[in-house]
Subunit: 394 residues, 2 copies
């Protein structure tokens, strides 16, 4: 009666949502303060004061037309400011024409994939991967090809990448800092990756786009910098979101940026604006376009997340968990001591710890903890993790 | 190199946008005040005071979590208030489970069509039609079937509708008050339409959904009321937008409502929430969900539009144009005195009138005037229309 594909997808639905619901049940039974919910990537810090101030100023301004339509790609002046910032980071020469304001990075990735994909073309992703990529690519007839990463570093294997590229390869999706591992790919690795993309593209007379999903670009620790993809990759298209950097995930505001080095980029930019319109976004929310334009150099206090990472990571490693130390984002992706995580998940629930099994991310032997939750929750959860480790035989 | 379908669509791109650009050129040359731009459906009245107040209160509230994620379907309390309002209008028993908050009606229609369509299934629309329906249906493999309306009333012919329904028919898109004609379909007609949908569905053992695109539901004149689709159609799914009723088109806020009479509606509701997530909307903008919840009984002053309709309609009819009098929305759809509108469009440009040829709406002998533009523009345009009528031989 309904879309068969959607109903089938519903049946194997999001493990994250399932855990979220398990958590809700536990909270009702035991009280929210006694449940340690690490399921959702919903940043709990409030937006920075500068962002809230910008919102207040605009709301009080009485400015005419603040909530009206603009060009489907967004306000030209907002896009010009973003282009300028990206040029400083990348040394490129983008203009407002290379920027389309989007409903977050989730919207942005759909806008990009619809603009470039023909049915049957392949999109390479690295496992573990963000659950939604599969849906996004399939929305436009794309086929996902999964390339594994190194189990000790979660960095993509370049040989495996090279082997997975064929004449149907249209794009590689990059996500660094990574959800769910928190790993930041080093510049050297990205440069080698670019060499492969250009060589393979040359061999097949195709263009392989590097689609960079960057909601965590600004969430990095220990002095690490996220390398600029626009600087490194000739055929790069970036999907950025202010959801995490300004703690505005519900407002759906971000942008797509196309490299000025892409052949016939003017057509691509028209296509991005067209897909933004015809997927039904029409345009990114108008008020928040103006808000973020005033906050391009602002971000949430990263130390909030760093403190949580340190406490949780140190505790887990001390307990004997095997875990790569994240350099960015706000996730840990430890190995399950019991192999497949389904049994371990149930064990964790007994200790009122809500985690997400790794199967949905393509790595069933791992689990994800989102530490964008209150510091008190994290501190209070430590004895529960100690008890869980013991139960799991660590 | 890019999506072939998107590039092809770009080539035959939006006539509305083309006219908008013609207008921009003219304005640069002659000054904005000397150009009469009727191309865009961008409401010029500011949002009602209650809406701006609600926004200010929320922005100043300092409330925590105001900009965070919520359930993909939206805030449960906001959805419950909307369900309650719809129940009052329709006598149905919707709950928050029947409501998904969306990025306007454009987003809502995509969410609905992805949730119900299988590749090759047909979607019936009535000509003249809103340009985007074709793109929305094709996004999910749907095939558009166009059913003409009566040239004197712009009301759908029921016999033609009946003939166009086959075993592949999955949905009929209804748009009343209508863009571009401004016509409101009477309740009697809708009841007859429902009889046909149920009969044909019975014959083919299918369910034919009535997808109601309702951005103009509250923009009606002369005491006319928009009949409640939820009341009349068993298998109705509504896409509503606050863009026009609250003059918030840039903010992308609306909802989808499913009738509680639909078989297995729980699965449909899950599917709608899932497609809202996986098309990349994730959720409707959070702050404006809260704003509209405080303004469900508020709308812009309809007299602003009524005055414009009266002045422009009366003038055109006096000049000899053939035009159905709109009972809602803010468009006129007169017949071109020169047959095909391309030549007439060029003639209008000479008089600095920007109109949209009807070809894009499926009716090349007509043209659209959007009168959501300042009253001064409308008054100042009258002599230009007089001159145009003379040039066109009226």
């Amino acid at each position: 009666m309904f879309s068969e594909k959607v109903v089938e997808n519903l049946r194997n639905s999001s493990a994250i949502r399932a855990m979220f619901e398990e958590g809700a049940k536990l909270k009702q039974e035991f009280g929210a303060e006694n449940v340690f919910d690490f399921s959702l990537g919903n940043p709990d810090p409030e937006p920075p004061p500068e962002t809230l101030d910008a919102l207040r100023r605009l709301a009080l301004s009485g400015e005419k037309g603040l909530h009206g339509y603009m060009n489907n790609a967004g306000y030209a002046d907002v896009r010009a400011k973003i282009a300028e910032q990206l040029n400083l980071q990348s040394g490129r020469s983008l203009t407002h024409n290379n920027i389309v304001m989007t409903c977050g990075a989730g919207g942005g990735l759909n806008v990009i994939l619809k603009a470039i994909l023909n049915p049957g073309e392949e999109v390479i992703i690295f496992s573990p991967f963000f659950v939604e990529y599969k849906f996004y690519a399939e929305n436009y007839g794309g086929k996902i090809v999964v390339v594994p990463t190194d189990a000790n570093t979660f960095l993509p294997g370049l040989e495996a990448l090279e082997k997975s590229i064929g004449p149907q390869t249209k794009a590689v999706i990059l996500n660094t800092p990574n959800n769910p591992t928190g790993v930041v790919y080093p510049e050297e690795l990205l440069r080698d990756m670019e060499t492969i993309l250009l060589q393979k593209g040359g061999r097949y007379s195709t263009v392989i786009y590097l689609v960079s999903d960057e909601p965590y670009r600004d969430i990095v620790y220990d002095g690490v910098k996220t390398p600029s993809v626009l600087k490194i990759f000739r055929n790069s298209i970036v999907g950025y979101s202010f959801s995490k950097s300004l703690s505005l995930p519900g407002e759906r505001i971000g942008y797509v940026a196309s490299s000025d080095r892409i052949d016939d980029v003017a057509t691509l930019n028209d296509a991005l604006s067209f897909t933004n319109r015809t997927i039904g976004f029409v345009n990114a929310p108008s008020l928040f376009q103006r808000v973020v334009a005033q906050c391009l150099d602002v971000k949430v206090d990263i130390n909030i997340y760093k403190e949580r990472r340190d406490i949780l990571y140190d505790h887990l490693v001390k307990l004997g968990f095997s875990c790569v130390k994240p350099q960015g984002a706000f996730y840990l992706f430890p190995k399950s001591p019991l192999g497949d995580t389904q049994e371990f998940k149930r064990l964790a629930l007994k200790h009122k710890i809500i985690l997400v099994p790794g199967a949905g991310f393509g790595c069933p032997e791992y689990f994800r903890l989102a530490y964008c939750t209150g510091i008190e929750t994290i501190k209070n959860s430590l004895p529960a993790f100690t008890a869980l480790a013991k139960d799991a035989g660590l």
